[in-house]
């Protein structure tokens, strides 16, 4: 592992925990103030089938989703609590017919709203209605810079063209645009072109987010894991572009934590500054938290307020702060820097969410897991398991044959 990688940090993490500016001015020991922003996964339905989807493998069916009135009540309650921003996400948030109504309600109660979308269901009229309803920011996911790779990763024909169109409308409507590029072995070679694409689309921000390996992505790790060399090259490209495009395009960069020495401060620490609400109304410390078995997550449909769930529920308190930590975290000088890394990853890779995240070099499992990832990154298993409600569908040869070039030759 190189020094450059060791020094890499997630400058700002994704949509979920990049809102810690206020919290950063407080002491780390001051634990769980009301989050500044909340992620609302209003549906798990999505026309895309990305193999690294951050939704849980067990998706919430449409029939279990909160109703319009229930979401409105949630929005009002959040605003009252002191939450300042909401991210409408999914699944595909615009798959819900009431999306405009929900954004309008967020505006009415004083919340700043972001839309995190695949864009493929949006018409110009719908986007315009969202802008009129007070939507302040649109974040569009891109799977590559051209349809050949992008549509294959998304598992949807014509997706890329549609995304470009919606990105253009977003700027025409004078809304800020973030391009969210999820990167992995099979599209990292397109990064310079993706950066240029973001500039050409007049985006304000680009998130270069390496895949984080839980849930669907963990199932697809062998097909997605980049090589160390690819990551080093990526860091160089991003750092160069950050300097070159200062004032034009802000670039946030998330490295895959498998190749870091220190784990990421996942969610800013469990139950410290972030929660999300699932389609069925569960209040979760992280969008992957339901993958951890044995924790009971309470719903907004329970008799408890969101504030009570955040402050008092067992699931939120289970890994809050530092008291739960085993060694080597317990006596580690970084315990309030990274809070032991990611609980979901610890669970997925070690079977116990209370273990040190194996992404940490101090974890007894780090070496073994890193080596395995390294082997996978050098392998030739490129076939995706697409995300869907049926537990995933393996990519067919026909799909694979549509590729023009060997995708990880970069």
């Amino acid at each position: 592992m190189s020094d450059t990688l060791a020094d890499n940090k997630t400058t700002t993490a994704g949509p979920t925990d990049g809102l810690a500016v206020l919290e950063q001015t407080r002491s780390a020991a001051e634990t769980h103030g009301i989050p500044l922003a909340v992620l609302l996964e209003i549906t798990h339905r999505c026309p895309l089938q990305c193999p690294y989807c951050s939704n849980p493998v067990e998706l919430d069916r449409g029939s279990t989703e909160l109703t319009t009135e229930e979401w409105k009540k949630v929005l009002s309650e959040l605003a009252e609590l002191g939450v300042l921003q909401v991210h409408f996400s999914g699944g595909e948030p615009t798959a819900r017919k009431d999306i405009v109504e929900l954004v309008q309600h967020a505006t009415d109660v004083g919340l700043y709203s972001n839309l995190i979308t695949s864009a493929v269901l949006l018409t110009k009229d719908k986007l315009s209605a969202l802008a009129d309803a007070g939507l302040s920011h649109v974040q569009i996911s891109f799977q590559g810079n051209e349809p050949m790779v992008a549509d294959r990763v998304a598992g949807l024909k014509d997706a890329h063209r549609k995304k470009l169109e919606v990105a253009k409308w977003t700027r025409e409507l004078d809304m800020p645009l973030t391009v969210n590029a999820v990167m992995h072995r099979q599209n990292l070679h397109q990064l310079p072109d993706i950066i240029q694409m973001a500039v050409d689309l007049d985006a304000d921000r680009l998130e270069v987010a390496n895949v984080q390996y839980y849930g669907w992505a963990l199932k697809n790790r062998a097909a997605l894991m980049p090589t160390v060399e690819q990551i080093e090259e990526t860091s160089r490209i991003v750092e160069e572009a950050q300097v070159r495009l200062k004032g034009t395009l802000a670039i946030d960069y998330v490295v895959p934590d498998y190749y870091a020495l220190r784990p990421k401060k996942c969610m800013g620490g469990w139950g410290r500054q972030f929660f999300n609400i699932s389609p069925a109304g569960k209040v979760l410390p992280c969008h992957a938290a339901e993958s951890i078995t044995g924790l009971e997550f309470l719903s907004v449909r329970s008799n408890h307020s969101i504030a009570w769930i955040w402050q008092n529920s067992e699931a939120f308190n289970r890994y809050r702060g530092t008291g739960w930590m085993p060694e080597p975290c317990k006596s580690c000088e970084f315990r309030e820097v990274d809070y032991g890394g990611c609980r979901c990853q610890a669970f997925a890779l070690t079977g116990d969410a209370g273990n040190t995240d194996p992404a940490c070099a101090l974890s007894p499992r780090h070496e073994e897991i890193f080596k395995q990832a390294e082997r996978e990154s050098a392998g030739s298993q490129n076939r995706f398991l697409y995300r869907n409600f049926a537990g995933g569908t393996l990519e067919t040869d026909q799909h694979q044959g549509e590729r023009q070039e060997k995708p990880h030759g970069a």
Binding site: P15, G18, L19, V21, L22, T25, G33, I34, L36, A37, L81, G82, L84, Q85, H87, G110, Y112, N114, S136, H137, Q139, R171, E172, D174, M175, P176, T178, D202, D204, R205, K246, G247, T248, A250
Partner: protein
């Protein structure tokens, strides 16, 4: 559409873009700037300056006003104000009023 890469000078007439909102956060009792996936906590002086950024006032006028109010050297105020506004502009949280093309 908001212009990017603006260079703040005394003749600039900056304003917050539509998607950047200056708001008093009742829960935390502080002023905040809400922007895409960001919440900034400007200090008192920054809040005062931002309240003056209406797209009509020039930076020079703001500086005059502040220099008088705080009985401070104009030059020092100008340097601070421009640096602060430039920083916000670089992050995309400040834009300039456009000349009317009509």
């Amino acid at each position: 559409m908001a212009s990017r890469n603006i260079s703040v000078s005394e003749t600039s007439r900056p304003k917050l873009p539509r998607h950047t909102k200056l708001k008093f956060d009742e829960t935390r009792q502080v002023w905040v700037i809400l922007a895409p996936e960001r919440v900034l906590a400007p200090d008192e002086i920054a809040v005062e300056v931002l309240h003056l950024c209406d797209g009509v006032r020039s930076v020079a006028e703001m500086v005059d006003q502040l220099a008088e109010k705080y009985a401070a050297p104009r030059e020092a105020i100008a340097t601070d104000v421009i640096a602060m506004l430039q920083d916000l502009a670089d992050k995309g949280f400040l834009t300039e009023a456009r000349e009317s093309t009509a």
